[in-house]
């Protein structure tokens, strides 16, 4: 028994020694200078580029797959598999000319046949289920000649061209896409281990001369931000893109810290179908009770942009500032008043489900929960694993409220699309007839000014009807090994590794 006592004492000493023994790592990686390890926060939901829905998956697949066109770092479209395209004046016919020298990772050249297959598969012409919902509008895909493909759509839409970033895969390969993904991107797929990560290798035949630089890229799944920090310091990760403010501060001496506004809209998403939350006054009360300025200060050191609806402030032509609706700081009086009106003078219980691998969301949840308590909204945080969140909250819609982020691609309508009553992505169950009608009008309008007006109106409806309690657009902060260069920030949520290289 005495032995056990010594063991405890020894353990106590050890733990102290361990604390003292940790000195900041230098961020040195192993001698190998042709590969890079990138830390990612979550597992991959699907390797099939048409079926993947999680932003965390798409950011990786960006390296493997390309569409006819692809987004560049300025948010403009550049030609990828297609070398040129024209859109007919009525906006109904798209004609793509293929580049001709683009090869799949398998070595085969991309033909019009592959393009036809890919677009038909994604749009649902093949088997009736549209895998990419915005492509549903495609009526037919016709092969004009070996290098020309003509796509006919049923209604004009100025934003549709962005959807042609949809991955081109070899004809007939849909069945295997999950296991052996083959694309035309700068990196080819090597292996994937669930819960561990995914390994990519250089595509030597890539059509852009000189790219990529790296021989191998590993995306390593790091479920906990604390582990990520230790991995960075220990040198087993070279790049980690999702730092919190305090982590960035801790790493700033030994790593390059790069920051840019993200394309993530963070919100306390409210399940509008919930018994309590279906009352608009309750939802508004929650919006009033939040103190966005404080959350911003606590979680991101004041570097976030507060928002009140689903649009990125970066999209200047379409964004309308609605932050005055509920105010940047808390309005407890108003919140209590609304709750009382709604029949809850003693407050309500609110469960906030949070994917616990996202440190930013977890910390925001802790801050928001505390703020809500002041207005009599007794919030309890329920941290869940990412897969559980995806299954129960996002797909199953079984939750009361959740703090997470939704990402935006280049089309301004993308974020607004999901709040239509019937949208498959409407995981908050927002239902507003006026919203649906306005969205259709926005879709139909070919004049950009008019479209922008409709979008602004949509944001207003979403904000005033409190579809969810929008919080902020957090910055994206990256730690990168000091010897790496060439990292490019995109206005979309991707990790482009093609230009990253080790400095000489």
């Amino acid at each position: 028994m005495k032995k056990r006592l010594y063991v405890y004492l020894f353990m106590a000493l050890l733990s102290l020694a361990a604390l003292g023994g940790c000195t900041g790592g230098t961020g040195e990686s192993s001698g190998d200078k042709s590969s890079v390890v990138v830390g990612i926060q979550q597992d991959i939901d699907s390797l099939d580029p048409h079926k993947a829905t999680a932003a965390g998956t798409k950011e990786i697949l960006f390296n493997i797959f390309e569409g006819l066109v692809k987004t560049d770092e300025n948010g403009n479209l550049m030609k990828a598999v297609a070398s040129d395209y024209t859109i007919s004046e009525d906006g109904l016919v798209y004609t793509f000319t293929l580049r001709g020298n683009v090869k799949f990772h398998s070595g085969n050249e991309v033909t019009a046949e592959d393009v036809k297959y890919s677009l038909e598969r994604a749009s649902g012409l093949l088997d009736g289920t549209a895998l990419i919902s915005t492509l549903k509008t495609i009526q037919s895909v016709d092969i004009v000649d070996e290098h020309t493909v003509q796509v006919t759509v049923d209604s004009a839409n100025t934003e549709l061209i962005y959807s042609f970033t949809t991955a081109i895969i070899p004809a007939g390969s849909g069945e295997d896409a999950e296991g052996t993904p083959i694309g035309t991107g700068p990196f080819s797929f090597v292996s994937y281990k669930p819960q561990e990560g995914i390994v990519l290798a250089k595509n030597a035949q890539y059509w852009q001369e000189g790219l990529p630089y790296l021989e191998e890229v590993t995306f390593k799944i790091v479920n906990s931000p604390d582990t990520a920090l230790l991995d960075l310091k220990g040198g087993s990760i070279d790049i980690y893109p999702y730092l919190t403010d305090s982590q960035a501060n801790e790493l700033k001496d030994s790593f390059q810290i790069l920051a840019a506004p993200s394309n993530v809209v963070q919100a306390l998403f409210l399940n509008n179908a919930d018994e309590t939350l279906k009352d608009v006054r309750v939802r508004q009360a929650i919006c009033y009770a939040m103190d966005k300025a404080e959350a911003n200060e606590f979680v991101t050191g004041g570097n976030s942009v507060p928002i009140s609806s689903a649009m990125l402030p970066a999209m200047k032509d379409y964004y309308v500032d609605l932050n005055d609706t509920y105010g940047d700081t808390a309005n407890i009086e108003k919140a209590k008043e609304l709750l009382t009106e709604a029949g809850y003078p003693d407050g309500i219980e609110l469960e906030i489900t949070v994917p616990s691998n996202y440190e930013v969301h977890m910390q925001t949840a802790e801050v928001i929960a505390e703020q809500l308590k002041k207005a009599g909204i007794n919030a309890a945080i329920n941290p869940v694993e990412w897969n559980t969140w995806l299954e129960d909250c996002y797909n199953g819609r079984k939750y009361q409220s959740t703090i997470c982020g939704i990402t935006c691609d280049m089309t301004p309508g993308y974020l607004l699309n999901r709040f239509q009553t019937d949208s498959s992505k409407n995981f908050v169950n927002f239902a507003n007839d006026e919203y649906d009608a306005t969205y259709l009008k926005a879709q139909a309008s070919l004049d950009l000014g008019e479209k922008a007006e409709h979008y602004k109106q949509l944001q207003q409806i979403l904000c005033e009807d409190a579809g969810s309690a929008f919080i902020q657009v957090p910055p994206i902060t990256i730690a990168m090994n000091k010897k790496l260069t060439g990292y490019k920030f995109y206005p979309i949520y991707v990790q482009d590794m093609s230009t990253v290289r080790w400095a000489e």
Partner: protein, 273 residues
């Protein structure tokens, strides 16, 4: 064979017992006071007071949300001790019941139950508790249940072996001849005689429960934020080990303090026994 029940006497208190008692009493006092009063609110955030080093205002410093760490350690200690107590009460109670029956009666039931406890013992306890929690869902209540299940076999074994040792003792034979009922023999005649052994295992079990609870909360399946427990405080503090070491030290030392206190106490009891 027959043993007299010895009660701990004051003059026989050894240094282990004294030191353990003092440490435990301080810990319990802090925890109990923490139930009713803490220097600051345990979830009160303050942007102006983030990461303040220990000072007179905040003896243990403040954390990343500007919350007072002393207050949270008090609350967290209460939570941890509360959970551990229930775990030990549950598993100890079940241990006595199952151990007494299997040890005294033996037979097929004994065989069967012992194989089950062997199976449970075969798994690392944290892993098994994780399995139970992933089936039943997280949270305080399920944490207690799962840990109680995991801790039961060790009590069963100790109680059972003591009952086997005593079931054929002369005084039990005589009691049986005199027609004393089985329940009375089990719980009035045998049970009091195994208490000194049992208490030691309770203390050790308590220690293990504290460590297990901290471990589970550290892994994020125990007590949920923003509620404080020593484990989830440690887990939160991990990211700030370099910039705010006091954040991790406070809950860490609190765990060491409580566990050491109970270890000394159990050692003291054993030496007195």
């Amino acid at each position: 064979m027959m043993r007299k029940v010895k009660l701990p006497k004051i003059q026989k208190w050894n240094k282990y017992f004294t030191a353990g008692l003092i440490m435990t009493v301080i810990a319990l006092l802090l925890a109990v006071v923490g139930l009713f009063w803490t220097p600051y609110g345990t979830t009160d955030m303050s942007a102006a007071e983030r990461f303040h080093a220990p000072s007179l205002m905040h003896p243990f410093g403040t954390d990343n949300f500007g919350r007072d760490i002393l207050s949270r350690v008090m609350k967290g200690m209460g939570t941890t001790i509360f959970i551990s107590t229930l775990v030990v009460a549950g598993s100890g109670g079940a241990g006595i019941l199952i151990g007494a029956l299997t040890g005294y009666f033996g037979g097929i039931l004994d065989e069967a139950i012992m194989r089950v406890t062997d199976a449970i013992n075969g798994f690392p306890s944290i892993l098994l508790a994780l399995v139970v929690i992933s089936v039943m869902g997280g949270g305080r209540q399920n944490l207690i249940i799962s840990l109680a299940i995991v801790f039961t076999p060790s009590f069963v074994r100790i109680v059972r072996s003591e009952f086997i040792r005593l079931r054929d003792a002369d005084y039990i034979m005589r009691a049986r001849l005199m027609g004393v009922g089985r329940a009375r023999i089990l719980f009035i005649h045998i049970l009091p005689n195994i208490f000194s052994t049992f208490w030691v295992s309770v203390m050790i079990g308590f220690n293990n429960a504290i460590l297990a609870e901290s471990g589970m909360s550290y892994l994020g399946v125990g007590v949920k934020p923003p509620d404080a427990s020593l484990g989830n405080m440690l887990s939160d503090a991990q990211g700030y080990l370099m910039t705010a070491p006091w954040y991790a030290l406070a809950p860490g030392l609190a765990i060491v303090w409580v566990v050491l206190g109970f270890s000394l106490l159990s050692e003291g009891i054993r030496r007195n026994g």
